[in-house]
Amino acid sequence: MSTVLQLASTGLLQGLIYSLIGIGLYLVFTVMRVVNFAHGYFVLIGMYGVLSLEPKGFFPFLGAVVVAALGGALVGYLVQRLLLESGLAKGGHSQLVITLSLGIAIQYLFQVLHPEPFETIPNPYPFEAFTSSGVTISAPRMAAGVLSLVLVLAVSFLVYRTRIGTIIRGCSESLNGAIHVGINVRRVYRLTFALGCGLAAVAGGLLLPIQPVSPALGLELTIKAFIVVVIGGAGSLWGTVAAGVLLGLAEALGSLYAPGTFATALVYGLFFLVILVRPQGLVVRAASRIKPAETSTKVGVG
């Protein structure tokens, strides 16, 4: 029993990190309808960013995470401004090629800069581990999960309770509608992409003390982020959050019933099943159940 509890707690905390990575992708996807294949590589930017700052102690670590997040956001902003904006106006599959190539470029850049695989940093937190009723959680894992949850709540507050969030949701509902009410959609796109990439980078920074980083990790994280967004459904941010937790739990508990890598295969098989049974995702927007949401065809504003 305590093994199950142990795995469930670990899975839950890991899942919250997936949720954080997922909502970054979710925002970019629902607002801009851009599928960012480089998303997982922005997590790498956060991981390598913190790694190269070599923080010693708790506050330097938090500082490094903030710096890495801002760095990720800045790179995202520039990517949107310099690469995607012109690609969006041209239409077609340019965004696919751009984000996919960008991810690969980031991977090889880090392979040159950090040829050693599985680099990490020592526990930056002032505690080693928390033990309660037979369950032991290391401090970095606990902190990463809790901070991810706090950030997820902060993002949901931003999206659903603030003026800028209303503007962001407006753009995601109808691009043309947003233009007709005078919203500078180009600026909203830049901010949204920067926010999405920044969130991925924060998650990377928090992940580093628990998961050693290698350049190849980017693809795996991109795929996980996709799974989380697709399983969650396009209806609300909470679907993505729930799906992230579900993925974390499934990964952790899967190892109970199957050995090692087979468990991973099993988890993805399970998600195949979810998609077959519920292709629209877990949470669906109320209005779209009645009528498919209007898709904007005029994207010639870039």
């Binding site: 949701r169 233009i179 500078n184 180009r186 504003v301």
Partner: protein, 245 residues
């Protein structure tokens, strides 16, 4: 004073030029209509004026200031608001959220509540449905919401793109009456319509668009009797059902 001045406007949709050398003027407080059959280029004209399609023009100015090179959303913020043909509502948001978004960028935040109350007075139906999602509204209600959202920023000019499209005759009459009221309250109106009878009843002047060029213009009462209108629209039945395109 001239509110909207268009001279030599050419609009491209994709690779083809759909509007050629169009001249059109709307003066302050006027209600002008632009009529034309399906595919004449009415929506292209609106999208060109708003900057959603690539344009060339000798003059394109709003309230005496050039719009050339101005981004679409900035044109809206200057008070040139379009009520689009397909409404472009925020389907997953409530009626009230849709209305409030109408003023979020272009409007004055301090007067938003006052304007909202005015819109609910103009469209009591929207007040009843304030908490309902826009995607669940009927056609007429969606039309009302699009107009209400356009009014939220207290625009100088409203451009209506086929407000009668897809609506029942009774609903059309009520929407047209509302447009007349909006105009009487001081908002300049450009009404773009296929429904010539309704549009002419409302507007003082009209432009007729045919195959991307202005084929005629003038006061609506004079234009209604003209050869052009008889040939193209009004008297097609009387002349043996020949409709020129």
């Amino acid at each position: 004073m001239t509110t909207l001045e268009i001279e030599g406007l050419t609009v491209k949709r994709g690779r083809s030029e759909v509007l050629h050398q169009v001249d059109l003027v709307v003066r302050e407080g006027e209600c002008v209509c632009l009529v034309g059959s399906n595919g004449a280029g009415k929506t292209s004209l609106i999208e060109g004026v708003l900057g959603l399609l690539p344009t060339k023009a000798k003059t394109l100015s709003f309230q005496g200031e050039s719009l050339l090179g101005v981004r679409p959303w900035d044109r809206v913020r200057r008070g040139l608001v379009v009520v689009p043909q397909n409404r472009d509502l925020f389907a997953g948001m409530t009626v009230e959220e849709n209305l409030r978004l109408g003023a979020i960028a272009a409007g004055d935040r301090t007067t938003a509540d006052t304007v909202l109350a005015e819109i609910y007075e103009l469209f009591p139906r929207l007040a009843e449905r304030a908490e309902q999602l826009a995607g669940t509204l009927s056609g007429g209600e969606r039309s009302m919401l699009a107009i209400g959202r356009g009014l939220m920023s207290r625009p100088k000019m409203l451009v209506f793109d086929e407000p009668s499209l897809g609506l029942a005759p009774l609903v059309v009459t009520s929407i047209m009456r509302t447009i007349a009221r909006i105009n009487e309250r001081g908002t300049t109106v450009l009404l773009v319509e296929q429904n010539v009878h309704q549009a002419f009843a409302l507007a003082s002047r009209a432009y007729v668009l045919e195959n991307g060029v202005i084929a005629g213009e003038g006061p609506t009462d004079e234009l209604a009797d003209s050869e052009l209108m008889r040939r193209g629209y009004l008297g097609s039945a009387a002349t043996g059902g020949v409709v020129t395109t």
